[in-house]
């Protein structure tokens, strides 16, 4: 089933499905608003995700202002602070990272990389975006309702999420949050079915599963995981909405609030946490696996070398995806669940470190004896390796149940997950944008602005999150509006917090330069040509750049090899495209 080495393969399997050009839209609205072209939907998804991501960025500034300079800003009340924290987390995880990796990169790259004309269900794909946009608008609306957005923390744990002691709990903030999540999941499901079915059914002739670029493997596996994990969040949101609006008690035991006995009784707050983390842990890998896949391709292309251990890389993605469904309760070691669960979940959690480590080794072994071009995508890929290894290793503290006990719910956790699923995947997103922008627009992003963007982001983000581990190690809990000066602090954390906040402000500011670069280069960037990185995968072999609706001209490409024929001995160039029928042992004879 594997054929990763270039070999003579003139006997392509016959086409199973007829090649049908999807109908072109003729109206302006059909082309640019209600577009059914996956490439355009990808840009809509990415643009919306970036816009709401900017909101999350500003919220992170506001919360860092409070932590770094407590008392200096009167308008940051505890209520506001918790609203900032909650909205920042929720937007980043769901509405930015999930949306941009799957809705953005998934839509753009899957059809091009597998050699399809479009997603298999273009109309449903369009609906997916518009429901996502509606989910974002509902989320934004919660900033403008009385009481403001929910301040329940992104984990939304009941009972506090629906009670009056939490901002937005007794008003509409929490309701809009839950409705928005429900909409997001509906929208995602429409897109997700598309991505999965397109990979399984619409690959062009010769494109076997084991010839797919790792980008597609990452996005495909993440999509399948998301289709299995999001329903848990969906039902949890619906049940909490019932608790809040209809007076059911799924997650609500007998409660006394402000001396008043409430009408709830018999429910279980821990049941919500199980549902949430049954979604929430796969979610980490739903964000990480596309990043794993994309970064593998960035490293291979820019080091001019085949991905080392392709088959192992594919299996590692699949195994990580499967294992991530049986580790969720490592988020709940101190939740009050039965303590014996700790043995099981610590073991599964640490086992997942093994395939993850294999991926790291193979990235670095891809660099080994490569021809490393320090382009912007390569720099961001290197930044990813450092931050991912750092964040992954601190996961071994938190996954190892008893080590987690003193660290759980402290700033150490915040530092860990920001490093591993914040900074690291975002490094990949940036690298990927520098890499594929030329295909999307036909122009290169400005190099000088890109260099500033990389160095400030990479060093700045490390300066934010590395020291933050030690704030947690000292004992400062997370979600603290202010810590004061309790006696257990071995050294005051004020100075360190001010340093972290200053670095965070700078890192945030440089993203404005990146956005400027995106728009500036549309007009002023150097012309890129069709394949500026001399890459092998199919998206670089389109007849036009940017690719038109339908992607390929009259004929779909035929695929003769895997995506990693770089620096093949005897080849005329240092890369052989996937649709190039060159045969090595015949001295380059063309078929």
């Amino acid at each position: 089933m594997t054929d990763i080495l270039p070999e003579h393969d003139s006997n392509l399997p016959p086409r199973e499905v007829a090649d049908v050009m999807p109908p072109h839209a003729h109206s302006w609205i059909g082309k640019y608003v209600f577009s059914q072209d996956a490439k355009y939907i990808a840009i809509q998804y990415s643009g919306t995700a970036a816009a709401i991501g900017l909101v999350a960025l500003v919220l992170s500034w506001l919360m860092r202002l409070q932590l770094g300079f407590p008392g200096l800003f009167d308008f940051i009340t505890p209520e506001a602070y918790y609203q900032f924290v909650t909205m920042h987390g929720m937007i980043m995880v769901i509405y930015l990272l999930t949306a941009i990796f799957l809705g953005g990169f998934g839509n753009y790259l899957i059809p091009l990389m597998v050699g399809a004309r479009d997603m298999v269900f273009p109309f449903v794909n369009m609906l997916s975006y518009w429901i996502y946009l509606l989910a974002v608008l509902v989320l934004v609306a919660s900033f403008f309702v009385p009481g403001g957005p929910t301040g329940a923390g992104w984990t939304l744990s009941p009972p506090q999420a629906v009670l009056s002691g939490t901002p937005g709990g007794a008003q509409s903030g929490i309701i809009l949050m839950l409705v928005s999540l429900i909409l997001f999941i509906i929208g995602f499901t429409m897109g997700g079915l598309n991505y999965a079915v397109t990979v399984l059914q619409a690959r062009t002739r010769g494109m076997t599963m084991m010839r797919l670029p790792l980008t597609v493997w990452g996005i495909f596996t993440a999509t399948v995981m998301a289709l299995l994990a999001f329903p848990a969040l969906f039902v949890a949101c619906v049940m909490m909405l019932f608790d809040r609006l209809l007076g059911t008690s799924f997650f609500m035991p007998t409660l006394v609030e402000l001396g008043e006995k409430l009408s709830y009784g018999g429910g279980s707050p821990i049941a919500f946490q199980h549902l949430f983390w049954f979604f929430g842990h796969p979610e980490v890998y739903i964000v990480a696996l596309p990043a794993f896949g994309i970064v593998s391709d960035l490293i291979a292309v820019h080091a001019r070398k085949n991905v080392f251990g392709y088959r192992m890389m594919v299996w590692a993605i699949v195994i990580i995806g499967a294992l991530s469904f049986i580790v969720w309760a490592h988020h709940m070691y101190v939740s009050g669940m039965h303590p014996w669960f700790g043995f099981f979940f610590a073991t599964t959690t640490l086992i997942i470190a093994i395939p993850t480590a294999i991926k790291v080794y193979n990235w670095i072994l891809t660099l080994w004896k490569g021809d490393i071009h320090l382009t912007l995508p390569m720099l961001f890929a290197l930044g990813f390796i450092v931050t991912f290894v750092n964040g992954g290793l601190t996961g071994l503290f938190l996954g190892n149940v008893v080590v987690d006990v003193p660290l759980s719910d402290t700033m150490f956790v915040v530092a860990h997950f920001h490093m591993v699923m914040g900074v690291a995947p975002i490094m990949v997103i940036f690298g990927a944008i520098y890499h594929w922008y030329p295909k999307i627009t036909g122009r290169m992003l400005n190099e000088a602005m890109g260099q500033i963007h990389f160095w400030v982001t990479f060093i700045g983000a490390y300066a934010v999150f590395f020291p933050m581990h030690y704030v947690g190690l000292v004992g400062v809990p997370r979600r603290y509006f202010e810590i004061g000066e309790p006696a257990f602090l071995t050294a005051p954390v004020d100075g360190l917090n001010a340093f972290i906040s200053s670095a965070a402000l700078i890192v945030g500011a440089v993203q404005v330069l990146f956005l400027f670069n995106i728009f500036w280069s549309l007009r002023h960037g150097l012309a890129a040509g069709g394949n500026p990185w001399r890459a092998t995968s199919l998206e670089w072999q389109t007849p036009e750049t940017p690719p038109r609706h339908g992607n390929w001209g009259d004929d779909l490409p035929n695929v003769y090899r895997w995506a990693y024929d770089y620096s093949v001995p005897g080849a005329p160039k240092d890369y052989v495209a996937q649709n190039d029928p060159w045969v090595p042992d015949s001295g380059g004879r063309r078929l």
Partner: protein, 275 residues
Amino acid sequence: MLIAVVLVLIVAGSVAFHLYSPWWWTPIASNWDYIDNTLVITFWITGAVFAAVVLFTAYCVWKFRHRPGHKAEFDPENKRLEWWLTAVTAVGVAAMLVPGLFVWKQFVTVPANASELEVFGQQWNWAYRLPGADGVLGTADAEWVSGENPLGVNPHDRFGKDDLIIEGGEVYLPVDQPVKLLLRSIDVLHNFYVPEFRAKMDMVPGMVTYIWFTPTRTGNFEALCAEYCGTAHPFMRGFVTVVEAAEYQEWLQEQLTFEDYARTASEPATRLAER
């Protein structure tokens, strides 16, 4: 080439920060130095791996940088090397997991001679309950909570009548005596967290959770809430004062039983003044 230098500096800077910065955990005051030891082992293993991986990456970036005429090697896979790396990783992971699980076994196994202390959380303060002369805590539930019965002790349970009710956020513990904390909340999630004791656990309304530890030195330790519980979460503080056995007995004598508490509580003016 700047990137290779920066990668080396990141490793050097991170190690230096770890070794020389003043931010480290607070000195321990319980038996859970096992946890600290496991944590230190984990720091050593992960620190070594981090340094090795990043330094090796830096070396590759420098050694195999693009130069005119330089060409990459075509090297798809190496089964032997991949299996070796997998095996070494598995051993490293086991070296952290196995001691971790041994300590966890201790962590969840409460010694038979542990005394009991109920910690009670509600937005946003702590209260405590100790078994009275009969040595047994009476049952309790949010169902029974009222002005005269803030902890919800079951008034029909004879074991509860002599329980000691301790409000005001501070509790005493005798040194070197294992204690099992029974954690209870009547509104939202809380988490009783004394950094010096290392142990922490959520309290969940509708159920009773527990942790145990042995205080190993006397002193006054601040208790924090470590599970987000609403707007005043960071201000939910309490104190645990660890004292010698004799002093502990003196303190015990000053505490009100549930019965006495209910009696004084029927005079609301006094209660309000006390609060």
